[in-house]
Symmetry: C2
Subunit: 206 residues, 2 copies
């Protein structure tokens, strides 16, 4: 029936929003059901457990992120442009939902069992390996050619990811001061993206 399909999708959609807003343990299945407009038992009918619901929501998204990871590496002539593209890519992804960055830190990195699951399923896969190996090779070439200072690929990637993620994690702090409008937010993010890009590009220059 089409109606079933609708409810199942609505559960996924509503649960995703609530998980992002209030975290996994902060969201009850009762609350999800209420927001969906059905009863709590139906959540379990479709997804059996809350944990399975979690993965049904976020596993496809993670797959996408890993899949698209090496896309920015293909375009752009010189290395500095590619780094700029990567930062652009991460910002664009995290900008889609401002709760994504805190959520990643909270529910993925903070939870050992989840992290292990994620690592096994995504980071050991072929696509992720290829993307990183590609990046690593590129960095080594640039170092040897003397176009950037001696730096390890893993450190560079970690620096970039840290600066991007933390921009969005720290973002709510600024907006607690009263400037909550979306214009100020956009300006802040644009400003931070530039600041991060400059820091990284200058930071790896010879």
């Amino acid at each position: 029936m089409e109606r079933n399909n609708n409810i199942e999708k609505r559960i996924l959609w509503v649960a995703e929003r609530l998980f992002l807003e209030k975290g996994f343990s902060g969201t009850s299945t009762t609350e999800i059901a209420k927001a969906v407009g059905c009863n709590q038992a139906l959540i379990h009918y479709y997804f059996r457990t809350k944990e399975k619901l979690f993965w049904d929501i976020f596993a496809p998204k993670m797959e996408q992120v890993v899949e698209y990871l090496d896309a920015p590496l293909d375009n752009g002539a010189d290395f500095f442009e590619r780094i700029t593209n990567i930062i652009d890519f991460y910002f664009g992804m995290l900008e889609l939902d401002e709760r994504l960055a805190p959520f990643i830190v909270n529910e993925l990195i903070m939870s050992p069992s989840r992290w292990e699951f994620f690592r096994e399923r995504f980071l050991r896969s072929e696509s992720r390996s290829r993307a990183f190996v590609k990046f690593e090779k590129m960095v080594e070439e640039e170092v040897e050619a003397g176009r950037i200072r001696n730096v390890q690929a893993i450190d560079l990637l970690l620096d970039i990811m840290s600066l991007c993620l933390s921009t969005f994690i720290v973002a709510p702090m600024g907006y607690a001061r009263g400037e909550c409008d979306s214009n100020a937010r956009k300006e802040y993010l644009q400003h931070r993206k530039e600041a991060v890009t400059i820091l990284v590009l200058k930071g790896i220059s010879v």
Copy 2:
């Protein structure tokens, strides 16, 4: 009585450890009581609510952090040395307990009510303001003197804090690969501290 004092302190000590290990909502008062070796009611006898217990533990620590924040600014002749000192200071602080960084992100930044409380109580205080104003002045002077590139103090501080915090947040990821011994951890932290320092110093150079 001295015995009362002992139990009260032991509750504080044990609860701190458990909060850091498993987070606030992940730790029950029953669990704290069990670890202390008393019954659950006693927790509430001494601290009334779980939330008050939380602040009785972490408010003094936050006070300390804010108080000591401008200490690294006083010693060290040139600006680059001072920046190195600040990074050193943050690493040293976060190294005291590896759970501190995730905890800060989780329990403070992620929780709007907690963050508001923290901001009101500590960030608007005189000591914090003075420390940041001092730092801001210093950066402006360096920029005007042409010793560093044009950069805003708030961005610089944010970059530094982000890189330091994320080093410790990402740390468990590396150790899921099997290298869990404390030697590897120390080496990793030392390596990251150097990488962060180099990136920041080069990143603000002219």
